[in-house]
Symmetry: C2
Subunit: 245 residues, 2 copies
């Protein structure tokens, strides 16, 4: 028995997200599994660190899989990259202890969200940004972000209404960079709920536009009601940067 850990990059534009769903094979997980099954000639289940949404991207998604056959990591890397579509690449393969689980063992995850804040399109990176021409007040966005730092119940910032599991998460860091005309938001936490980053970003955007106040955030957290938070920002601007164990 061998357990392999993969580091994966992808452009999510053409895919229905990370997770294989029934017959929908147009997912990143589905593409990886199909190729690994050919390589190992047995069914392979690829366990991701978590889902990414349709249209969202990854620079450092992590996954692992168990197989009864040992193979050189370099051989797996080459085989996968030879057959993967051009918008998915495996940047690293390593053998890990059997107990390693890419979802259960996550310590920190970092997401980046890119807003192209200009009336002139970013022709070169249009699939990687959310284009928004309205001016944003960055100071207010930074002020709002501080309220999320630490451990909170993020139920208001989650799309899944029927969630029974804990909605408590810890946010370690939120960085809002001004790269004229881009605004880049980087969020690190111990885990994220369904659509959580996109709803946090949507809330920040509404605050930046003056539709909401930074001081509204504590009430949103306390109220635990999705309707109080901002809109769900489009998936195109979202990139899973790093998963730490």
């Amino acid at each position: 028995m061998a357990n392999y850990k993969l580091t994966i990059q992808y452009v999510g534009t053409k895919y229905n997200g990370w997770q294989r769903q029934g017959n929908t094979e147009n997912t990143i997980q589905g593409k990886l599994e199909a190729i690994l099954e050919r390589l190992f000639t047995i069914p392979v289940e690829v366990i991701g660190s978590g889902r990414t949404d349709a249209g969202a991207h990854a620079f450092g998604q992590i996954a692992n899989f168990h197989v009864p056959i040992e193979m050189e990591p370099e051989e797996i890397l080459e085989y996968l990259n030879r057959y993967l579509p051009k918008d998915i690449a495996v940047s690293h393969v390593e053998r890990v202890p059997d107990r390693f689980h890419s979802r259960f063992n996550v310590k920190r995850k970092t997401y980046q969200y890119r807003i192209w804040n200009s009336c002139i399109s970013n022709v070169f990176e249009k699939n990687f940004v959310y284009e928004l021409a309205e001016p944003l007040n960055i100071d207010r966005m930074k002020e709002a972000a501080l309220y999320w730092i630490g451990e909170h119940d993020f139920k208001a910032f989650c799309s899944n209404k029927r969630l029974k599991k804990s909605t408590i998460r810890t946010i370690y860091e939120i960085n809002i960079e001004e790269l004229e005309p881009e605004i880049r938001i980087t969020i690190t936490g111990n885990g994220f709920l369904y659509n959580m980053v996109r709803i946090m970003v949507g809330t920040l955007i509404e605050i930046g536009m003056g539709e909401k106040l930074p001081s509204d955030v504590p009430a949103m957290l306390a109220g635990k009601d999705r309707r109080n938070a901002g809109f769900t920002a489009p998936s195109s601007g979202l990139m899973l940067m790093e998963v730490e164990y």
Copy 2:
């Protein structure tokens, strides 16, 4: 009468290059002219600083057009960006003296060519690089590049066999940067012949792979024979960076 100068960015992947050609309207020039004709309700001829090949890109292409109607540059900018496809954007519009001609008045042009030198694809920028897994000897490429600096007859580095015009050009600078695993070649000159940058890059690649020697370059220049130079590197890696007047 008014003369307007445009700065244009585009992703050339889907287009048949800059220049309008008969019925082929899928060109950058064609797209700009169609929109300007709607705005000014008269035929408009957009003069580019030069052609770019099918599949090649521009960060700072320059063009100008004459119209008998004066309009605010800001208004032209907004109208163009509203109707242009998402892979073409106008980043600047200004009124210039009537005598300004974007092709005849060029002083310097800078092109960039990006080689992704890795067996792991660049999923995020695949349309902007030429992917090449073979290792390249950068020192030899840098040595070869020195032979092109200055004024030379570049006939051997031109695809157009029936060219009657002068094939003498001056190269001011060639920069070869190592951005592991990317190799970025930046070339500035007073003008470039048809496919000249791509043939120079193809020659550099063959030198980097050891198929040709840096010291072969002077003989290529002197021989003026296209067959002595390297292959024409793919257009995807090529970007017109800047045009100076």
